[in-house]
Symmetry: C2
Subunit: 381 residues, 2 copies
């Protein structure tokens, strides 16, 4: 299958099996990323932030799939607010490749919409679905890993997810319990016994000790046929909504498309589909993977200095750190952040706001947003 | 003597003693205030900051003396850089009342220049000399306190300083050792036994225990004749420079004035004059006095909330504080400062810079300035 190199001609719908399904990449870019406030806002989610060597994470995601899907089969699914901002954030990305959700509605409707869009033009396609806001390196290994998954998904019935080997008992990720290898030739691809939601610490420690639990990366590979069949098993309403969306897209009927989208259950794709699917495999994510979940995780994109300070400064910003250690500084615009004698802090400075909190409280930044909302300070949300 | 109400006509030089000397107020506004970086800069010293209910401290100093000296006998002494900024900082203040030092040169030359300027037009005058960057309240009591001192200084030979009753063993202030009352009718005015420079903590504790040591407020009242005579005793070069400046001003010779100013020893007025003067009295400062020496002292101008957080926000700035206590926040411009779960910090945010440091390190902010200087970041100094 042509997962490298130039775009092949679009597959045309056919009833005969296509021996060379084309690979489509779907970048899910609907997240709001409130944990990066005040850098992130409603209209400026985490994936728009310049966290990838000064480029937006979304641009890094586009670059990541360019070599395997090609521009004509790379899609961004997002909501209307973020779609409107795309021309300034990723100006090179073709408008026609943007799939706009009528509203933000969790990942199952989002996936169904993307599946419908691709099914309408290429029902034999295999899709790689990935979040817009992760750090994944190196790209060449990502391509190899997707190729392995696509070979498995090529059977037309297996859903493939990628599992990250846990390095600590994380309570912020879902887990995948891996079983036997699906094929003795491919020990790095195993059957999924179960999906496990974010666990309590004690459970996470057991997962880590057991050795066969992997973090659920949120990256999937499947064929259109397989995900459609899995929807039918896990959520017939979702399958029905997906079919209706496919028909509406083929008919060019936007109102029908919107109605079908709104009829899809507001659930995550994990909950609505993956957990019920009969054929799921997990492939080892052989890349450096980080979901950059909050400011302290910026050490994944900005290497700390000898004192453990990670500084991410864009747009002319700079930092002066004296007698300070293990801090995370995020700054934008022509300003200098000076830290003197502080430790383990998050300091964020953008044009209209500054945040200071201990690293171990960074997850609680939503309390600030709630306060601002209560005060009617919507311009800061 | 007319220390209240409308301006009396200028006194004219005369050899006969004038029974009603007029009171001139000299506001010394040459300080740089590096301890308020990044709010303060070379061209924006502490006295320009809106620390007096949103007004510059310098404006508060002008307002403070208005009722005792009147506009025509109120003077600001400052350096050329700050003089250039005065029209924007205190737009109502008459340009003709600004005495510009040819260069910043410690307080003895500054005082000598002010004495020369006033001696040239009003040799019988009594002067109150006060720093531009202090908080003194209430104004009515300040007027009474100056009236008491002016009555003593009216003898034409006594220099009067104001002493603040110490509330803790401060090591950052000079002290005045008070002796016997100068007059049994005025127990709050005592002879000065000695001036003591900033003491070590142990010595400061002894001063506090002894009870007759007062903080040197930096506010003085004296007649032109008395300060001129005291210069002659403490520093003949200073007296000579002062006389030369007086003559140059009378002659309208700016080059001679500048040369005379530069010939004055670069010393403090305490060291060059006060410590050697034969007749010095200290009057109790019966006001709330604070020199607002650094960010933690902002509690003197911004009352802390129930959690001990002092917030000074000007120009559209605001703050959101959650689970935070005993912090000092200074903000300017349309920005919001959010603190979450922090304690005992100083957080300062202006357009082009942010500072975060513990309150007990706020005195060390000059280390940041040295670092910026070393990096050539002069735009931030």
């Amino acid at each position: 299958m042509p997962i490298h190199g130039q775009d092949p001609p679009d597959s045309t719908p056919t009833t005969a099996p296509d021996p060379m399904p084309s690979l489509h990449a779907v970048i899910m870019a609907g997240g709001s990323g409130t944990r990066f406030w005040p850098a992130s806002r409603n209209a400026r989610p985490k994936q728009f932030l310049p966290l990838a060597n000064g480029k937006p994470l979304l641009q890094a995601a586009i670059d990541r799939v360019e070599g395997i899907a090609g521009a004509a089969r790379t899609w961004i699914v997002t909501n209307p607010v973020q779609a409107a901002a795309l021309p300034t954030v990723v100006p090179q990305f073709a408008r026609g490749q943007v799939i706009v959700e009528p509203e933000a509605r969790d990942t199952a409707p989002c996936v169904a919409l993307a599946v419908a869009r691709i099914a309408a033009i290429d029902p034999q396609a295999v899709m790689v679905v990935l979040p817009a806001d992760q750090v994944i390196e190196p790209t060449a290994e990502f391509h190899r890993m997707v190729a392995r998954a696509a070979a498995i998904a090529g059977d037309g019935r297996t859903l493939v997810t990628f599992g990250v080997k846990p390095t600590f008992p994380a309570t912020g990720y879902g887990y995948v319990e891996a079983g036997e290898p699906i094929d003795s030739q491919q020990p790095a691809a195993r059957r999924v016994e179960r999906f496990r939601e974010k666990p309590a610490l004690e459970v996470a420690q057991q997962f880590l000790a057991a050795g066969n639990f992997l973090w659920n990366s949120g990256i999937f590979v499947w064929s259109v046929a397989a995900i459609r069949a899995a929807m039918q098993v896990g959520s017939p309403e979702l399958a029905q909504a997906c079919d209706a969306m496919t028909a509406a897209i083929r008919a060019g009927d936007d109102r029908a498309l919107e109605a079908a989208f709104r009829s899809a259950p507001k659930k995550s794709v994990d909950y609505a589909v993956m957990e019920h699917a009969p054929h799921v495999a997990v492939v080892d994510a052989t890349v450096r993977w980080d979901d950059v979940g909050s400011f302290p995780a910026l050490t994944a994109v900005a290497a700390p200095d000898a004192q453990g300070n990670a500084v991410l400064a864009n747009g002319g910003a700079s930092a002066v750190l004296l007698r300070s250690s293990d801090n995370v500084v995020y700054a934008e615009g022509k300003r200098t952040i000076a830290l003197l004698g502080v430790k383990d802090l998050v300091v964020v400075a953008v044009d209209d706001a500054v945040l200071v909190c201990p690293k171990d409280r960074a997850q609680d930044v939503k309390a600030i947003l709630e306060q601002l909302k209560a005060e009617g300070r919507t311009e800061l949300l």
